[in-house]
């Protein structure tokens, strides 16, 4: 029994950290435990959360995608830019842009066998260039107010972006657990050579996962565009890092082969709660970042510690 509890603590450390941060901010700030604030947190985490779904797949393969922040910004600009065609066509075009850039990333990583870090770093710079060319360095303003309305829809108490996030997360987790694509994602991350010898089409799976990552970034961009009714060139500069941190916080192994989307959800929520709680606590800007950094490294350290004792 004791061992089972200990095992639970070790494997689910992100949820324990989540509960601690809830208690801490609940005590420290007056309005933290309010219905409204939880709505806020859900809404605020949904954009990075959606990107973290694609990122988890890529990281499970043992790869990384640094370009999602810029794909996110470009797709936000595209969905606003094509608004004159109507909401559905503009959304589809933005999605296509995300998938295509993801596919290009995947092809370079899988077929040309260039390190994913380098490929997606180049993509990040290239897509940023595209964004500047497309927007002419100016903010593009949306004209269709119905589009802005989308992000503020609530079904019950849940904001629509949060529902999209949760639904995508459930589908993503289902695919990971119950389909051959999901199982192969783990196999490739665990040992790519062995996976190849076992007859898995490694290249195909890697390309699909990069497309997934690009597609998720596109969905995130569409939601951001709807929340702001604008696309600016300053969007998404740091988001790829926050998304990677969330995935790692959740306990997904950066070398691939181990992790899950439910854990990523934990990581995303912890970062969202830290951001929100520190804002409500009125911590000075600079210490806000310092404390955030300390907490993140500590959490990852604890996770690492448990991992060592496990083996």
């Amino acid at each position: 029994m004791k061992n089972r509890i200990l095992k639970l603590i070790k494997e689910q450390s992100i949820w324990i950290i989540l509960i601690f941060s809830l208690i801490f901010f609940g005590i420290m700030t007056a309005n933290f435990f309010s219905f409204r604030n939880f709505q806020n947190i859900l809404l605020q985490t949904s954009i990075n959360g959606i990107m973290a779904i694609g990122m988890t797949y890529v990281i499970l393969n043992g790869n990384i995608d640094l370009s999602i922040g810029m794909i996110y910004a470009l797709c936000a600009a595209v969905v606003i830019g094509f608004q004159s065609l109507g909401i559905v066509p503009s959304v589809l075009i933005a999605l296509a842009v995300g998938l295509i850039i993801g596919a290009i990333n995947g092809i370079f990583v899988a077929k040309a066998e260039i390190n994913a870090f380098i490929v997606t770093l180049a993509a990040m710079i290239g897509v940023k260039g595209l964004l500047f060319v497309y927007t002419g360095e100016r903010a593009i303003i949306g004209t269709n107010l119905n589009f802005t309305y989308l992000a503020s829809i609530r079904i019950g108490f849940m904001p629509l972006p949060a529902i999209i996030f949760i639904v995508l997360l459930i589908i993503g987790e289902y695919i990971l657990r119950n389909t051959s694509h999901g199982r192969n994602a783990y196999a490739i991350g665990g040992n790519q050579d062995a996976a190849e010898k076992a007859g898995i089409d490694v290249k195909k799976h890697i390309i699909i996962n990069f497309m997934l990552s690009g597609g998720m970034a596109a969905i995130a961009g569409i939601i951001a565009a709807s929340r702001m009714n604008t696309a600016t060139t300053t969007l998404g500069r740091m988001d790829h890092l926050w998304v990677i941190i969330a995935v790692v916080l959740g306990g997904t192994n950066l070398n691939g082969g181990y992790g899950s989307l439910i854990r990523t959800l934990g990581g995303i929520l912890v970062i969202g709660i830290l951001n929100n709680g520190l804002n409500l606590m009125n911590v000075h800007t600079f210490y806000n970042m310092l404390i955030m950094g300390i907490i993140l490294i500590l959490v990852i350290y604890i996770g690492k510690k448990f991992e060592v004792t496990k083996s």
């Binding site: 700030t29 702001m228 009714n229």
Partner: protein, 351 residues
Amino acid sequence: MGGGIKLNIEVSYLLENLLAWSIISKNMRGQIELKKLIIVLALSLILVAASGLVLAQENADIVIGMTANNTGVDSYQTLHDQAFREKCDELGVEYNILDARGEPMRQVNQIQDLMTKGVDVIVVWPVSGQAIVPVLRQVQQEGIPVLIANSKIHESGFELVKGFAGPDNITQGVYAAQMMAEALGGEGKIVEVMGTPGYITAEERSAGFHQEIEANYPGLEIIETQPANWNREKSQEVMENYLTKYDEGEIDGVYVGDDNMGVGAINAIKSAGRGSNLKMTSATMFADGYDEMIAGDILYGTLYQSPIDDANYTAEIALKLAKGEEVDFFNYFETPKVTDENIDEYERPVW
């Protein structure tokens, strides 16, 4: 007054010391000790919390919430942040100042957090003049007054906010045009180096200059305008191109959006050896421009826009709004003209 700030600074020292301590102990024993790290973390959180409590006791029941554009990215914004906090302490109000760090989405989220917190007024230094408009609609429904600081938002958002406090960029352009007319005796051809196109500050400084020249100085002509995106090197390039394109005598004046670009352009003028018959005016003074005006002849006039005046004025207007008082929609602070004549009345800017 100012106890909160002082305590905050002490907290930061303690944090740094504790961090250093944990790193040193790591080096001595070859590994980070988890226990010590936890102690450091717990202590730092307690200290930060304590400083928050002290702040809360100090003042009345008014809370000013602010989300800044990108504190620390340049000295103007950093000084603005400091001065704003000091002014709030002086006025005896509580404040919750957040920093969007240049990210529009983060700023939208911070505005929501300030709403949840229930502050009495939200001051927004917009990262993007358009991106915050939808969330401002929610703030308006909530009944919390919003004051836009330093840079204006898109006109579609005007009905959602109580007002704007900051510099009047159009007037700055007008003043720069008047000084240009003085410098050139009302006759001459001018080239312009402007800030980033699409940014309201850059567009307004340019527009004010054009308006004034067209309305009042028929002898002056603006022959070309190019953007240098507030960047000194880019401005030097733009000026080099102007000097290649227009021979000696074909341009008489250069108007720049701020002194930073001004210094870049002056470098180009000097290396082309054309300083003797060119005059420059600028829309905002920086320390380099101050030095240039004292040392050289090219920079004729600029405008004194102080981040401290800006912050003080913004805090005062914000307090009025928090108390439910009515304010004008546009609240501009003074940005006086500075030329060789009166530069000794001003201190060298620290921004």
